[in-house]
Assembly symmetry: C2
Homo-oligomer: 336 residues x 2
């Protein structure tokens, strides 16, 4: 691996000049610049990132924190992969790389310690937090330390923190409007955990539209799940016990919607003839499961891209961008 000194020597210039060629090319003469660049290409010189990080304290790496919820070992972000692709792509366009930094939940507090240290030791420029559940103390510590943070699907603000989410409230509205359009009058909902922000927002939007239409939502028609399939199943059974039975259900997450559909199937009811279902997220399964789940889609790529942009903005300027809420869209399939 050729070093900057070797390159400098071969070109008959000083190392400082070589360094300048790569960092502040405008201050070096056209002639010298070309000479250095040609020679660099010839011997395959590449600046060593560790040395550069050491000298500048900037690593061009952003940490990716995810899966910090140890209460749920099997926790899966519903569209991690889509976000990852978009995030990675947008960041690498800026010369930034992604270092995965999940605090090892199996290792408990020790794992969290390691995680925090990893962030500091590697001079990570910032972190992206992808998690819609708990707030990890280690992550909060990062924010306190002034590390630029961009959270996804998680309300997270501070002097150096911002977040990107979908317009959950608007999404809730879309769902309600669609069901009303379809002529449903007895509409129930399966929400997410009441203490989570997306769940609260989706419910609020949903409720608002119903209210506008002159229909209030009976408390017994709102049952909370935990985003996972089984909870949707349970919730739906509870709703089926209502009398009169709802003719439509808005499930605030697709997995719960699928669970609900399963409960309906078991009860011998048909979707959408007997009960209509609208989900939220637009996960892969939504398109695959018959009769197709009508759902409020989140802009997964947009979320990843917006997160990258926010991160870049924080890294370049000193401003902390305002939180972004990306529009959601209703995807009409067969279930409503």
């Amino acid at each position: 691996m050729s070093s900057i000194r070797e390159l400098a020597h071969r070109c008959g210039v000083s190392v400082a000049t070589v360094s300048r060629v790569f960092n502040t090319p405008e201050v070096v003469s056209q002639q010298t610049r070309q000479l250095v660049l040609d020679m660099a290409a010839e011997i395959g010189y590449l600046p060593n990132e560790s040395a550069r990080t050491l000298a500048t304290k900037k690593s061009n790496m952003v940490g990716l924190v995810w899966d910090t919820d140890h209460r749920r070992p099997g926790w899966r972000h519903p569209f991690l992969q889509d976000i990852l692709v978009a995030l990675k792509s947008a960041l690498s366009a800026q010369g930034l790389h992604l270092l995965m930094l999940a605090p090892d939940q199996s290792a408990g507090p020790a794992g969290r310690q390691r995680f925090l240290r990893a962030v500091q030791r590697h001079n990570v420029d910032g972190v992206v937090i992808i998690d819609n559940g708990s707030r990890d103390p280690a992550v909060l510590a990062l924010a306190d330390a002034g590390v630029p943070c961009v959270a996804l699907d998680l309300r997270f603000t501070g002097p150096t923190c911002t977040y990107v989410t979908s317009d959950n409230r608007g999404g809730g509205r879309l769902a309600a409007a669609h069901l009303i359009d379809r002529g449903h009058r007895r509409i129930a909902t399966i929400t997410g955990p009441p203490d989570t922000w997306p769940a609260a927002e989706r419910l609020a939007g949903f409720r608002a539209v119903l209210a506008d239409a002159g229909r209030s939502l009976d408390d017994a028609d709102v049952v909370a799940g935990d985003w996972y399939l089984d909870s949707g199943h349970t919730a739906m059974r509870r709703l089926l016990a209502r009398d009169p039975r709802p003719t439509a259900v808005f499930a605030a997450g697709d997995e719960m919607a699928v669970g609900a559909m399963r409960a309906l199937h078991e009860a011998g009811l048909r979707v959408p003839e007997d009960i209509a279902i609208v989900g939220f997220d637009d996960i892969e399964v939504a398109a695959l499961i018959p009769p197709g789940l009508t759902t409020v889609a989140q802009d997964k790529t947009g979320i990843g891209t917006a997160a990258a942009e926010a991160m870049v903005a924080m890294l370049q300027g000193t401003v902390t961008p305002e939180p972004t809420a990306l529009p959601t869209t209703l995807i009409v399939r067969g279930s409503a």
Copy 2:
């Protein structure tokens, strides 16, 4: 951020001694060691990873290469997330971190250049390649350069390369055996692209069992898809045109199986009564789609863990571990 010199000064020892406390503790006296450790904890000293990398040329980071198939922009590894979790967890238990290094396919050759440089510049210790499709030239260059590589689901060997896969052939056997057990006589199959290794293996195993049972597989009963849903749909329609119609189909990938089921549904046929289906992979949807897809499950966590182990072995010793094939298991659900 406190440096090693500060810590050394506070302890009244030399920086060399401090360094030894963290790297070769056995050579420093019990007393000094304790003093340094206590003081380090007190002032929150953490060795700087960049400086260490610079000095030792080991970064404790392994690169993760994935999504290198630009022929398919939407390429999704069927269980990236599961593998990622296992891989990350096993690696971080060894103090290794994961740096995402997808060659940016949208950037074409330039992106690939950047990628290669990233690997070198960051002194990545090794690379995990997760991709069951094409072989990226940039990745091959890495292998040539002697970078330790572990490939997943991809036959990839060399002096510093090994790979981890499922026992695809055995899985094909399981599928065939199950269908024969169920009394099926007219069995067809939807394979993956014939030029891919997993597809060939699965088919080989499948064929072998049929042959053992005295049944040969008519060429017209073997139709190839491209792993994706639509191709399963198309393939199934082709198979339905056969006379007599097969009573069972082994789809070498779950997505294709789902596509096949959809085609059956459209044709007014029922699963498993009219036609039985067995898939391969056990992706999330398999459990969700009615009546439940009977499938050959890959050990996703095992794959991630095995990959991590192989990587660690290469990093520590000088040996390149033999390729590993993880056992598959048949998950019986409702489709067969």
